[in-house]
Amino acid sequence: MPRPGFVLDVDRSSPPTLFWHGEGFRLERLPSGRSRVIYPPEPLDPLDDPDAAVRDALLHPLGDCEPLPALLRPGMRLTICFDDVSLPLPPMRRPDARQRVIEAVLDMAADGGVDDVVLIAALALHRRMTEAELRHAVGDRVYDAFAPHGLLVQHDAEDPDGLVHLGLTDEGEDVEINKRAATSDLLVYVNINLVAMDGGHKSVATGLASYRSLRHHHNVRTMVHSRSFMDQHRSELHSSNWRMGRLIAAAGVKVFQVETTLNTDTFPSQFGFLQRREWEWSVRDRASYLATSKSLERTPARLARSIFQSIKSPHRLASVQAGEVEAVHRVTTRHIYDQQLVPVEGQTDVLTMGLPYICPYNVNSIMNPVLVMCLGLGYFFNLYRGRPLVREGGVAIISHPTPWEFHPVHHPSYIDFFEQVLAETTDPVQIEAKYEEAFATDPWYVHLYRTSHAYHGVHPFYMWYWGAHALEHLGGVIVVGGDTRAVRRLGFKPASTLRDALEMAEDVVGRDPTVTHIHSPPLLMADVT
């Protein structure tokens, strides 16, 4: 029976706490008597027979929806869309959850005599996936059957002929999505839900949308009013996507949603110490930690990055549900909360977090400083329900090397954003007003997005907006062990050690502040009362 999450009150007997630090780790001592560490729940038991569970979900859909075979008929247009390389993290071992679902859907489509089938990677404004990444996601059988015939494609949010405008929501939001998906008789969306924000109407309304549509919820105002965007009932991001999703349904697009959740068995056994509470580390855990951290200290950064990026997670399928979007997502969200939610009492003055080497936007790539900000203040800060873990005016301390380094193919617009925009201002409102339009419509960035493997020109802006709520809420952000210049460019304060950072934080929040550390990954979500 997996143990639930746990909040440790740090005392003098507590061992040092493990912090991720990019492609490495640190053991840090938190002040005793006023610190606590939030440990995630242990991985849930996986499904015994995932393929049978997938088939069962397709045959017994939730909500007002017929079983999938009843929706399939000869002569129809069927489009299967699936989440892109940003999910799950790290990429899971084969077979990927998407492959299991897509193969089951195709089995039923073949039985139903459906000839016109197209698969679309729902990229939104993310970079195009490579062949290897596509093969990993959908499996070789599916790739070889569809890709050579041009039937496995990637969504292009800048293709004027490939988009269709379905109308405006009550709030005046444009809904423009992939034309093939919108004009199909049935759109099956295959999703992986890693955090509570994923899935639901967001899958189609965001994953298959254009910039014209996305800008209505990927903006500073929406982010600041999403408290947090992991909490559906208090997320403007969620509300906007739901309005769009309902409009898509009203426009006649029939969506059959398949959502999967994974357990948090995130790292292979040689990294088992990452998922254990420090006082429970066995001799093997300690030896693995020492061997790993000592060798990483001597490993060139580039090699360390490729070692970590090659990790395939032993994630196992924990649940799968299919049917009508909202009914499905209600169940999915419950599964996510079962796996990730940890009750926490009260806020803290200082929130500490060790950031890993990976976030949704640097799979097989480089975690550049903008993504460090996004992961820390966008994702980790927002892993709460109720109230933020840190009080208003509090301090966030991030542990990450934050190198001044960018992937020139994947993140070209990030380079200019970092060099030009952040050099002038770090205020999300000003950035949005002054620079977004130019980057979003820059023909060179559009060209790279459509033909290369580059994130869209506007993507770094969205990453910055992702942290807007935290920037507004916090009194300061300190980065431990980061590249000093890069950290200052982000508008944060650099510190060499956690002790220094805690002393610096006292200047903002007062003497002897309370400290809370998020012991993650694996992922957790704090239910703060």
Binding site: L8, D9, V10, D11, R12, S13, S14, P15, P16, L27, E278, W279, E280, W281, V283, D285, R286, Y289, L290
Partner: protein, 295 residues
């Protein structure tokens, strides 16, 4: 490396606010000996026992074995119940048992002594195929394990006295061996071992080569309705007769047994020095037809 490095070089400390879960017991009666009964381990042990153990025991203990004819027709498995004076008893018995028993025998060993440390538990489980038994109290776990191995066809070598002799005289038998035999429906072979105390007595640090005698008795079976305690008494009596047979000869021992005058294994109920004196006297002046004068 600095002289005092903490975690992770050393084991982590436990936060005061976190309740410690009960430690998982893996030693003593909880030690899992299943690995020692697997085929590969048995093979390795057989090689060690026959290639190293037997020549060594012959060199140190020069055993004379009597009564093997009494168990000629006895099918395996069986329970071998012997008196216990020295650590040498076990290897001695294991090397003189007939082949059909020797390579498929487990030894009941005190959980508190042989299985209190991991290295000891591993070593004894491999070397003598020991299984842990609780000596000081009734343990359902050790009874269950012993019954299980008997049911799997393993013979059991057990010392019903529960430990080595303190002063050279025997100790009253515990009913454990009898209980297991009754439970499994197996015969008990009484065995008397003489001379091992001269090689390595309790508390001694060095061994001294000497001669030893091992006498096997006729297999005993519990009578209908006979309880374990009563059966244990019969086993103890049978070992005492074997001891008398070894010291005084078959016929003398047989007549004494018939007359109920077999000397007890436990010696006179007297002061320690008198018990020691009686023991030494017995050694100095063995009687019976087998008694041979020096040299």
């Amino acid at each position: 490396m600095s002289p005092r490095r903490g975690f992770p070089y050393r084991a982590p400390t436990w936060p005061t606010s976190v309740e410690r879960p009960p430690l998982e017991r893996t030693l003593g009666v909880d030690y899992d000996t299943a690995w020692a009964r697997r085929y590969a381990t048995r093979l390795a042990r057989a090689v060690v026992l026959d290639a190293v153990g037997r020549p060594l025991v012959r060199a140190i203990a020069s055993p004379t074995v009597d009564g093997l004819d009494r168990i000629d027709a006895l099918p395996a498995p069986a329970v071998f119940a012997a008196n216990h004076a020295s650590h040498v008893d076990t290897p001695l018995l294991l090397t003189v048992l007939p082949d059909r028993f020797r390579h498929r025998a487990v030894v009941a060993a005190g959980a508190d002594y042989f299985f209190d440390k991991r290295w000891k538990a591993h070593m004894w489980a491999f070397a003598i195929n020991a299984i842990p038994v609780e000596r000081t109290r009734v343990s359902t776990k050790s009874i269950r394990l012993a019954s299980q191995v008997l049911a799997e066809g393993w013979s059991l070598v057990i010392f019903p006295e529960g430990g080595r002799s303190q002063d050279g005289w025997g100790q009253p038998h515990h009913p454990g061996a009898a209980h297991l035999a009754v439970r499994a429906g197996l015969p008990v072979v009484p065995v008397h071992v003489e001379g091992t105390r001269r090689i390595l007595r309790r508390g001694a640090r060095t061994m001294r080569a000497s001669t030893t005698h091992v006498t096997f008795g006729r297999p005993l079976r519990a009578d209908d309705g006979e309880d374990a305690r009563r059966f244990a008494g019969r086993i103890e009596g049978a070992v005492a007769v074997l001891a008398d047979e070894q010291a005084s000869g078959f016929w003398v021992a047989r007549r004494r047994a018939a007359g109920g005058t077999t000397p007890t294994l436990t010696g006179p109920g007297a002061a320690a020095w008198r018990r020691a004196w009686a023991l030494e006297e017995g050694r100095r002046a063995p009687s019976g037809p087998d008694a041979r004068p020096w040299p």
